[in-house]
Structure formats: structure tokens, C-alpha cells
């Protein structure tokens, strides 16, 4: 056994204070980066002008910061927060430290929907909204299928969910690939690939409402049930013994996660590693109780994706690279560092 050690965990209030500070600063600073680099002073001028209703300093800067970069930064923060919440919830639902938000086949289902829209030519005609619509329908359809099959075969137990989600996910990916190969449009494959790897390019203010409401509502519901989630994470027998209606909580959590991930995939495509790594990092920071874990994960996820998005803009200008490329390049080493820490056991004994 390890020698007794003091609590190395940051005291939760301090951790929250620091992360909130970093998040606010990042929201402002990140808008300085992009194809046209701006100084932080310019950014602050524009933001102060916008918030206080003062005179517009420079119309070009105002457009870049307020119309292009601020909505994009907010969307990155929202999607990052949502993915981290979904990852933490999924890891609890299936009691598996390797679970990520896309486990239930939701993202592969979304890719079928999105691919269908792109390859059928609807995308060229009606634009991004049809793409999001197709992805959302595909995602929710996949979730319903996983739910129905898992329930029919004996219930939403952790192992059954993992297996059903993985198998159906592969099947959906196959369907999406088939759609791409059948298509006569050579640009379709490129569009599909770019979409699958995630992007926040072209974010606009009006796109923020639905993800904001979804992330907020799901976060509130999960926090309200945080005591139940704690018990569920220790196993279904303990949970039932302390009065958790296990079956109802599992179904509720599944539905929340499916809607959350479906909406996130619809606005940003698939973004790897955020939902897998960030909940573990948050656990190291504040501990495993959902009451503190969920907010911490959401804030860390927002912070992480905000900077990942900045890197996608400035790494190979003027081209933007997909989010998953960067999140994977940062996330994989980060995960390995976590793995190497002796104190953190990833839900499994040494």
C-alpha cells in the first residue's frame, strides 16, 4: 500500500476560481488570434465598445472580432463544455474510464445523416442548416436504435450499452462509407472527411442558441441528479441500496446524453479526445463527486476546445485544419501523462 499522503487535490473553490478566471481571460484573448492577428488592446477596445454601446472604433476590426471570432469562441466553449459533460456522464453510465461521448453510436449515426445530406446534393443547395439537420436526425435515430436494442435484450446495463453502441457504431460508419463511395461527386468525400473531424468555421451568433440551451439544460439536470450519479458510479447494487431508482436514472441519463451529443455533433461534427480526457483531468483536479466534477469538467472542456480552435486557425494559415487533428495531437499525449500518474487509477485497481 502507498504511504499515507495528504490531499493533493486542489481545494475545489480555489480550483473553480482559477479555472473561471482562465476561461474568461481566454474568451477575450482567443479572439486576437486568426488569419488576421490583432493586438489584445484592439480586441478589448471592440468588446468594451460593443458591451457599453460606445462608438465603434474601426468597422473592419469590429466585424472580425464581434461578427466572426466572438461567436466562434463562444461556440467552441459551449461545445467543449458539452463534450466534457457528456464524457463524464457516459463514463458514469457505462462505468468505464475509456468511454467517450460518441460511445453510443450517436456520432456514427450523425455521420450517416450528414453524409446523406452531402452526397445527395442537398448540402450545396440549402447549406449548413440542412447538414446540421441531417446530422441531428442521424444521431437521434442511432440513439433510439441503440436504446431499443439494448432494452429488448435485457436492459441498459453498462456492458450491454458498450457492446451495442460499439457494434451499431461500426455498422453506421459502414453505411456512411457506402454513401460516400456511391456518390459521383468527388468533392463529397472531402466534405464528409472535413465534417467528420469537426470544425467550428463559419460560426454565427444565431447558431449559439440551441447548443447553449441544450448544454445548460442537460448540465442542470445532471447536477440535480448528481447524488444519484455518485451512487450509480459505485455500482448498481449500492445505488439501489441507497434508494436510487437505477433503471429510471439510467434511462434518463441515456436520453440526456443522446440529445446533448446529437446537438453537439450537429453543430460541430465529431471532435475526438475532449470528452475522453477532460473528465479525467477534472477528476484529478477536484475529485470524483459529480457535484463538483461536472462543473469542473464543463469549464475545463470549454477552456480546452477554445484553445484547440485557436490552434486550428493559426497553425497552417490561411488553411484551417479540423479540430480532431489538433485535439488528438494534444489529447493523446495528455492522456498518456494521466496514465503515467501513479495516484490516478482510471477507475481500475493498479
Amino acid at each position: 500500500m502507498d504511504a499515507p499522503r495528504g490531499r493533493r487535490r486542489l481545494r475545489a473553490p480555489l480550483a473553480f476560481f482559477l479555472v473561471t478566471l482562465a476561461l474568461l481571460a481566454s474568451l477575450v484573448l482567443s479572439t486576437a488570434f486568426g488569419a488576421e492577428p490583432l493586438s489584445p488592446a484592439t480586441v478589448i477596445d471592440v468588446l468594451v465598445g460593443r458591451v457599453t454601446g460606445g462608438p465603434v472604433a474601426d468597422l473592419a476590426y469590429d466585424t472580425i472580432v464581434w461578427q466572426l471570432r466572438v461567436p466562434r469562441a463562444l461556440l467552441a466553449a459551449l461545445v467543449g463544455a458539452g463534450l466534457a459533460l457528456a464524457g463524464a456522464g457516459m463514463q458514469t453510465l457505462v462505468r468505464n474510464p475509456l468511454a467517450d461521448p460518441y460511445l453510443l453510436g450517436v456520432s456514427s449515426g450523425a455521420s450517416v445523416g450528414a453524409t446523406a445530406v452531402i452526397t445527395s446534393g442537398l448540402f450545396a443547395g440549402a447549406g449548413a442548416l440542412t447538414l446540421s439537420g441531417g446530422a441531428l436526425i442521424g444521431a437521434l435515430g442511432a440513439a433510439v436504435l441503440v436504446f431499443v436494442i439494448a432494452t429488448a435484450q435485457g436492459g441498459l446495463t453498462p456492458l450491454r450499452l458498450v457492446l451495442t453502441g460499439t457494434v451499431l457504431g461500426s455498422a453506421f460508419s459502414a453505411v456512411a462509407s457506402y454513401l460516400v463511395f456511391r456518390s459521383s461527386d468527388p468533392a463529397a468525400a472531402q466534405s464528409v472527411l472535413f465534417w467528420l473531424l469537426g470544425s467550428l468555421a463559419g460560426a454565427e451568433w444565431y447558431q449559439l442558441a440551441i447548443p447553449a440551451i441544450t448544454v445548460g439544460a442537460v448540465a442542470a439536470a445532471m447536477l440535480a441528479g448528481s447524488g444519484w450519479l455518485d451512487a450509480l458510479a459505485t455500482g448498481s447494487d449500492t445505488a439501489a441500496s441507497v434508494g436510487v431508482p437505477v433503471r429510471a436514472v439510467r434511462v434518463g441519463l441515456f436520453v440526456l446524453l443522446a440529445i446533448l451529443v446529437g446537438v453537439l455533433v450537429a453543430v460541430s461534427g465529431g471532435i475526438g479526445f475532449v470528452g475522453l480526457v477532460v473528465p479525467h483531468a477534472a477528476r484529478l483536479l477536484v475529485g470524483a463527486r459529480h457535484r463538483v466534477l461536472l462543473p469542473a469538467a464543463a469549464m475545463c472542456g470549454a477552456l480546452f476546445l477554445l484553445w484547440v480552435d485557436v490552434v486550428t486557425r493559426i497553425l497552417v494559415p490561411p488553411t484551417e485544419i479540423p479540430l480532431s487533428v489538433v485535439s488528438g495531437l494534444i489529447g493523446a499525449p495528455a492522456f498518456l501523462v494521466l496514465l503515467g500518474r501513479r495516484r490516478y487509477r482510471f477507475g481500475g485497481e493498479g
Partner: protein
């Protein structure tokens, strides 16, 4: 804080295999009951049924005159607590956080762990002599300490009926005796599954012997665990002897001698 527990005609099956058949028991308020039987005789299943976690295929469980399986999860968890056998806890939980799970049936959504809850948790940890380890992650506890943390989780649930599945596993001899003493002092109705026949004899008011899914009548240890019963159920030879100092009865267990095999 104790309650009357009555179960009659309990039967339970897993697939085609019958795990329990026609089990009846009537436990008076404040009694400590030991369930003994060889591996696979249905002890854990019976405890799960008595805890309301599993529905019997036939029969009823009444706790304080109320049908247990008709209650909602939250109401049930205020009447009965089950501390199951070793389970894999999320390793990054601290000991007090595991104990605080026992407060779930009393917490409302949004409310955190307040000073009153903290005091209840500290009190439960003190009862199992782990007050110093409240802030230790559970993966840094020994097996025996983890068992006691789980017991504290059951205690903090403040239920009049407490069910314990092999609570003495992984405990050293002193902590086994301490635990049994603690259980007796609680003033609750306690039903526990035990492997150690001597411990059951020494500390339980009455003993239920389970054999191939059937229960022998609930009886005081001396009557329930006669050499004949122990031989037939466990396949070992048991000789009761009187402790020269305390006067308690102990069972000497030896392999069944061939000439005595029925």
C-alpha cells in the same frame, strides 16, 4: 430504531435454476440473525431479496408490517440498508465521500453535503474506528478498511433494518470481534451472512441455516448448529466445546471422519 422483519414462502430462481425455495423467517425487533450455509446456497440472493433489490418469484417480505417490494426506492432505502460484498469502488473517491452515499435517500436534488451531513458521516466513520482516514482515497485503504468504510455507509443510512453480506471478510480477528460487538450495540434489527460458524454461534441471537436453497427453521445457535446439521449441510465434523474461561460454546471443525459418514 429497530423493526420487525417477516418473510414467508420466498422463492427465487435464476433462469431454470431454483436458488431459493419456500424460505420463511420471522425476526423480532432488535435481533441479530446470522445466515450460514455453504458456498452457493443462496445467502447473497436471500439478502438481496430481503433488501428489496430483487423481486422474489413467490412470497412477500414485510418490514414493520409494510410490504417491502411495494415501496419506492427512496422509501425503501430509509427502511433497509444492504452492505453487499466487496465491490469495485471508483478509486478516486475519498472514504468520507463513499460514506456520504448513505445519505442519498435523505438528500434533495441541488443540496450538497451540509454540516449536519458531515457530522453524520464523521460519526459513522468513528463507529468503525476510521475517523482518521476520512480524507484518504479508497484505493489507498486496505481490504479490511474498505469493508469498514462500506459498513459506515450502511450505518449512516439510519435504517432500522441492516443487512450485511459477509461483513467480516478481509478483517483481522480483532476487527471481526469489534465489528460484531458494534453490530450488537446498534440496537437495530440486523441480518448478516457469515462464513465463520464460531462467530455466528458466539454473536448471533438466532441462526438461519440455508442448504440448497431451503432454510431450516430459525433457531438459537446451539439448536441450529448441532453437529448433525453441520455435518449434513457443510460436510464437516463439528464438536461443540465449552470455553474454559468465558463459558461460551465454540465449534471445533474437523474433516468428516469416514466411519461417521451417513
Amino acid at each position: 430504531m429497530s423493526v420487525h422483519l417477516r418473510a414467508e414462502g420466498l422463492a427465487c430462481s435464476a433462469g431454470k435454476r431454483v436458488v431459493l425455495r419456500d424460505v420463511r423467517l420471522d425476526v423480532r425487533e432488535g435481533e441479530t440473525i446470522g445466515i450460514v450455509g455453504p458456498n452457493g446456497c443462496g445467502k447473497s440472493t436471500l439478502l438481496r431479496v430481503l433488501a428489496g433489490l430483487r423481486n422474489p418469484s413467490v412470497g412477500h417480505v414485510h418490514v414493520g408490517g409494510v410490504r417491502l417490494h411495494g415501496l419506492g426506492a427512496r422509501q425503501r432505502a430509509r427502511k433497509v440498508a444492504l452492505v453487499a460484498q466487496e465491490q469495485d469502488l471508483p478509486p478516486d473517491l475519498l472514504a468520507w465521500e463513499v460514506v456520504a452515499l448513505g445519505l442519498t435517500p435523505y438528500r434533495s436534488p441541488w443540496n450538497g453535503v451540509g454540516p449536519r451531513e458531515r457530522a453524520a458521516v464523521a460519526d459513522a466513520l468513528a463507529q468503525v474506528a476510521l475517523a482518521d482516514l476520512a480524507d484518504r482515497p479508497v484505493n489507498q485503504l486496505s481490504g479490511g478498511e474498505r469493508r469498514r468504510v462500506l459498513l459506515a455507509r450502511g450505518l449512516v443510512q439510519r435504517t432500522p433494518l441492516l443487512l450485511l453480506d459477509e461483513p467480516t471478510n478481509h478483517l483481522d480477528v480483532r476487527h471481526q470481534l469489534d465489528l460484531m460487538q458494534l453490530v450488537r450495540r446498534l440496537g437495530r434489527t440486523v441480518v448478516l451472512a457469515l462464513h465463520d460458524l464460531t462467530l455466528a454461534t458466539a454473536t448471533c441471537d438466532r441462526v438461519l441455516v440455508l442448504h440448497e436453497g431451503r432454510a431450516l427453521p430459525l433457531a438459537p445457535p446451539g439448536e441450529a448448529l448441532t453437529p448433525g446439521v453441520v455435518g449434513a449441510v457443510f460436510g464437516v465434523d463439528a464438536t461443540p466445546i465449552r470455553h474454559p474461561v468465558t463459558g461460551d460454546t465454540h465449534l471445533l471443525i474437523t474433516p468428516l471422519r469416514p466411519e461417521c459418514t451417513p
